[in-house]
Symmetry: C2
Subunit: 432 residues, 2 copies
């Protein structure tokens, strides 16, 4: 096959055959197709799009570019959970012990953060001693022992995705629905749980800015999953403001532990409960029963106890007092009286990155102690001079005054209370 | 400047600023922008297109990526001539001595052939001893001495074009109007003659299959030339069948010499005369006077004499008897009685390449003796069994029978004589 002709076909908007998609993906993972040809194909896909069946072929070819864990064969009940990326979104850390405590095994492949959102892998790295599972044997051992594993995206899982993901970053081809779907789903399918709970973020702090975009993405993710025999429940959830009140690695572990202990941030708790109900519903529990059990596990300490077991199974110390702490904190006062009319999640995400909580480039060092607390929500009443946020400064030299000003500018204050925005905006797939 | 953002801008269909176009071109010629980013940008331009002013910026930035010969400063009357590439098109070899013999200097930057058309550089290589000028001093010396130079596209002229041209070939981004215009015009403007005669080929054997496409290309080439202060006369000419009756390197030199001697192929002669009149008209001669002088130069031997001077000035031997000859010839008989309804120029071009007369890849060796003679034209009457073409086989091992069958299949025979197709289909720019 002449790969230039395959590129030309997509350039002209035609649909690629299964063999052509495989030539692209195989060429990416083996290096047989050079980067400039991969880049041209990525741009052609980015502009021309891909049909449902092309996207399905792309996902399955990328899945098959590496080893398959086939989690569902050993753990038919296991559920996987994925978020498209939000600010202050530490749901995964609550979801895994909570759902596991309810008797449903949780298989969690976690990624490192890039851009304005923090990655689960970085948050877990804040726990002293915590080692994410490195291979299938280790992961399955943990899944059997404590009902959940957290594994780092390894070289052996979907290597074509690793290659294309890095190339997309440097060639301006990140915002492409089929490429995003392929990147997410190829890894999920390679891990191979038979059930998947998806949290598709929507709003100013997310990749999908509008509900229409989020519906397109959720629809494509659900269709591809179902096309490969995986049951998928997707929730489209609000990311017009940060989800939880804490941003940063150690900070988001603390936020998760608080919710697991029956208290904590109300929005973080509410969304985790919603997604946990989805997971239990897929496992056959009636939704009211699922909700009751979840609330009980949070109230009676068994979710928190399960967190401790999971952390220990990964070599970590579950004592939250041992998490890294900031060197100093700086309070950001409200500049005026009024109502909070907006909290710019993306801007606050970038503030957290500038403090060291995230990465501008692959390989950047993350400051596990650095972060941000946001004390106000959209709709809250604030008084001039009272704290609306706290900077948590770690090792990195920071212009605290300028950073505080950026935070203040990201929290908009007006005279009238805005209408409340629901947390779950829509659902695609899943069990009633 | 973050080049990923520049790529994203073009990906989304926006117009690039002068600084952004320069970053692209400078990055290509210096290697500061890696191939995968250049490839993504080329594909974005290929699909999204470019505005007139973007194309102008692209051409001028590519022109300025290397040295400028500024031919027009030393030879204000000099004319350049370019063809977009046809089969059996050896006009340049006739045009240069003919126009020079009429007192108008001809600056000719020649390229090597790729694909189904032969390049002027390869044809000149068939002349024993012929060396194309290697630098400006040498070229200008020849222009002063004999009124014309043939120079090989050197490393120093428009290096950004060399880089992008090779990359387009491997990334499926050849068929893009702004990229084609930029490739042609950047080199023409770097050589810097103030007048340019353009032959835009149109038909099954050319890049532009339809008159509308050819008008778009001619219009863009003329506009860019005029935008840079160059007078351009473009003719859109028929390439639905081969121009001359000979294909191949030595073969096309012979065809040129025959026309220069006052005889030769009628279509090759007619088109060359048309384009030579355009050149003389730009130099201020009334068209009827120009035509009369051109006919006289062909009839009285002075055009042929000038060819001899030009060849000798380039170190070559003008004796046509010393051109390489084929090892053997194979006659292709007409399979049926009837009228020739079509001669597939592209198919015959590929036959010539398969015999060794052209290149499938950069760096392939060309067989200077190999080629093809086509004895019939669209509209001719043929008789079954009489020769319609002759294969001229050089050093390369060839399946003569299969090749003859390909030639026969490329010459369509029907029962009714088709309507004649004019040689010059349209004109853009130029002097009345």
């Amino acid at each position: 096959m002449n790969f230039v002709e395959v590129i030309a076909k997509k350039r002209d908007g035609s649909e690629l055959s299964e063999a052509e998609v495989q030539a692209f993906v195989h060429g990416a993972s083996t290096g047989q197709v050079p980067d400039e040809q991969l880049a041209a194909m990525l741009m052609a896909i980015c502009i021309r799009g891909a049909s449902r069946s092309e996207t399905q072929r792309l996902v399955e070819a990328m899945r098959d570019s590496g080893v398959l864990w086939r989690t569902g064969e050993s753990f038919p009940e296991a559920v996987d959970k994925h978020s498209t990326g939000g600010v202050g979104d530490t749901v995964s850390l609550v979801f895994a012990p909570l759902v596991a405590a309810c008797g449903v095994p949780v298989a969690m492949m976690a990624g490192a953060g890039l851009g304005h959102t923090q990655g689960t892998l970085d948050k877990l790295a804040a726990i002293p001693g915590f080692r994410t599972a490195a291979n299938r044997g280790e992961a399955f051992d943990r899944l059997g022992r404590c009902g959940a594993f957290f594994a780092a995206q390894s070289q052996e899982i979907a290597p074509a995705d690793r290659k294309l993901y890095l190339l997309r970053d440097t060639t301006g081809t990140v915002p492409s629905l089929p490429l995003i779907v392929a990147s997410i789903m190829s890894k999920k399918l390679a891990v191979g749980a038979r059930r998947l709970v998806l949290d598709v973020k929507c709003g100013s702090g997310a990749f999908c800015k509008t509900l229409a975009e989020a519906r397109d993405l959720a629809g494509a993710l659900v269709a591809v999953g179902e096309g490969a025999g995986v049951e998928v429940a997707a929730a489209i959830t609000d990311m017009s403001q940060p989800l939880g009140d804490r941003l940063g690695c150690a900070n988001e572990v603390r936020a998760a532990v608080e919710v697991l202990g029956g208290a904590g941030d109300e929005r973080l708790r509410r969304l985790t409960v919603e997604l946990a109900v989805d997971a239990l519903a897929m496992a056959g529990r009636p939704r009211p029963d699922a909700l009751a059990e979840i609330e009980r596990r949070l109230a009676d300490g068994s979710a928190l106890a399960r967190w401790g077991e999971i952390v220990r199974a990964h070599g970590g110390d579950p004592d939250a007092a041992r998490l890294p702490r900031p060197r100093r904190t700086v309070t950001v006062p409200a500049p005026a009286d009024g109502f909070v009319t907006g909290v710019d999640a993306e801007a606050l995400g970038w503030v957290a990155v500038s403090l060291g909580a995230g990465r501008l480039r692959q390989g950047d060092q993350v400051d596990l102690a650095a972060g941000l607390q946001v004390h106000t929500r959209v709709g809250d009443r604030v008084e001039a001079g009272r704290p609306i946020a706290t900077l948590e400064i770690g090792e990195r030299p920071v212009d605290a005054e300028a950073t505080a000003a950026r935070v203040a500018a990201a929290i908009r204050i007006g005279e009238t209370r805005p209408a409340p925005v629901p947390l779950v905006l829509a659902r695609v797939g899943g069990k009633a």
